[in-house]
Structures are given as structure tokens and as C-alpha cells.
Symmetry: C2
Amino acid sequence: MQAGVSIGEAARVSGVKVPTIRYYEQVGLLPEPPRTEGNRRLYEARHLSRLAFIRHARELGFEVDAIRTLLDLQDHPGQSCSPADSIARLRLQDVKERIARLNALKAELERMIEGCSHGTVAECRVIEVLADHAKCGHPGH
Amino acid sequence: MQAGVSIGEAARVSGVKVPTIRYYEQVGLLPEPPRTEGNRRLYEARHLSRLAFIRHARELGFEVDAIRTLLDLQDHPGQSCSPADSIARLRLQDVKERIARLNALKAELERMIEGCSHGTVAECRVIEVLADHAKCGHPGH
DNA sequence: ATACGTCCTCCAGTGACTAGAGGAGCAAGC
DNA sequence: GCTTGCTCCTCTAGTCACTGGAGGACGTAT
């Protein structure tokens, strides 16, 4: 086991930016690492793997609060994993809803753009649809 | 033409909350309406239709800045609609990208959840995948 | 006259960062 | 030994599009 790496190095290997790493420490996602004599953070393997965990979870769209719970579970491997399972299921549900909503938006945007005759604003379907909700495929929203 | 409606009434018919209406005025999306003797806002038809426009555009995910441009175009109907068209196209591009990313997340979340054996955290696939990026379908992210 | 609902302004908070000011540590070249 | 330039430190404030609360005024019904 070596000494550890600087915050810049940690940023490089994890793909998380330096200020974001400090932010994660500040909000309690990442434990405070030891420091050098000159007061610089020195990250060890456990910090780096935790950082990778956080990054992956953020990429999957988990909120910081959810990640805190997931990390806490990881620290207690004997517990039931059903909280982790239900956090992931909630997230999946959320993702599915977003996809459905975005597909509706996509359809409406495509209809708007397709109807545009590239003339003046007065006859622009984009503006017209925005101004009058009744003119869109009004899918609920 | 009647007098106009209160901010509460405007909120009711537009579906935009009262503080949000005041916020739109503050950031210059909605013109300042006339006031009553008692200093209350009185919205006229033009304000209400502008509010509907804003709401619809926000629902489609246009940013406030983009909406400002779109409203400006609406106020000058003789201009070419190509700026409106390109704002909408950019938005569509963005929506498409989001859908693609969310579909990838959905696949990964489903794989995670499916692999969960409902036992302890130690053998939980959800935690495991989060901890080790190599264990997911690593679709680019 | 009183009670209640709606309205007013102003200021602070949300989430998850991001950017900048102002200063100190550290390695290399001259 | 000194300077240059990079990385690091803390602290504060800004982003986006709202949202919420304090503290007070107006308006209407009883």
C-alpha cells in the first residue's frame, strides 16, 4: 500500500472534477481523507472506489440522498438488500416515466417542425402551436 | 372588453402558480400588467395568452432564454421564422439525446434489478454493479 | 368590527454543482 | 536562492427555474 493520491489525480482516474470531489466531501458522501503536512488531501484506494461508486450512481441518475443510503448499505453487507432494490426500482420507474414524457414531446416537436413552411413568423407552425395548445396533439400535458 | 383578472384567477386558468407568474414578470417574460387602485395586478387577455404560450413552451422543455426569443418573434410576425425553427430543432435534438441516454439507463437498471436475488447486501447485484463499472453493460457512460 | 382569504414585496432556500477570489505549497529550471 | 507555473487550499457567490416564508395591506362577507 502506497501513500495515496492527490485530489487532481483522483479527479483524473475517477472522471469527477476536483471541485465536485470537494463538494461530495462537504455533503458527506465521501469521507474526509487524511492530509499531507502541507494540508493536501491524500486519497487512498477506499476513497477512490467510493468515488467510482458515486460517479456511477450519479450517471444512473440517483440523487445524492439515495446514494447516501446505497453507500450506507454497502458498508453493512449483512443487511437485507431490499432497500437498495426498492431505490433502484423507484429510479427505474422514474426513468420510464421520463422516457414516456420525452417521447410525447418528441412527437409534438416533430409535428411542429414538420409543419413549418420556412416563411414568416405569421404563418409559422412552431409559434402557432406554442400559442394555441389546442393545435398540438395535446397528449395530456 | 372587461377589466381583467387577478393573479389568482390567472393562475387558475393558466395552470401556472401565483409565485411563478410573478417570477415570469420579474425575469421579463411577462409584461407588467396594469394595477388596481389597491396595487393589485390586473391581467388582460393578452397577458393570459402570453402566459399560456410560456406554459406550453416550458412543458416542451424550452428554456426561459429560448422562450424569450420565441415570444419576441411572435411579436414581430413579419420576420422570417427560421430562428424559431432552429430553436425547435435544437430542442428536438436535445430530446432525442435524452431519450437515448435514458433508454441506456433503463436497460442497465433493469439488468441490475433483475439480477437481484433479494438476499443480503453482500450478494446484491444492485450494489455490486454500482461499485464496479465493469459489471454493467457499460454503454459508453 | 372582525375574520378570513387574497394580495403585496422582499429575501432565502432548493439540487448538484460550478466559478472566482485570494492565498499557500511544491517541483523544476536558471 | 529565486522565479515561474502548476496544483492545491478555503470561502463565497452564482447557476436554473422556481418555491417558500415573513410581515404586512387589501377586500369582502358576516
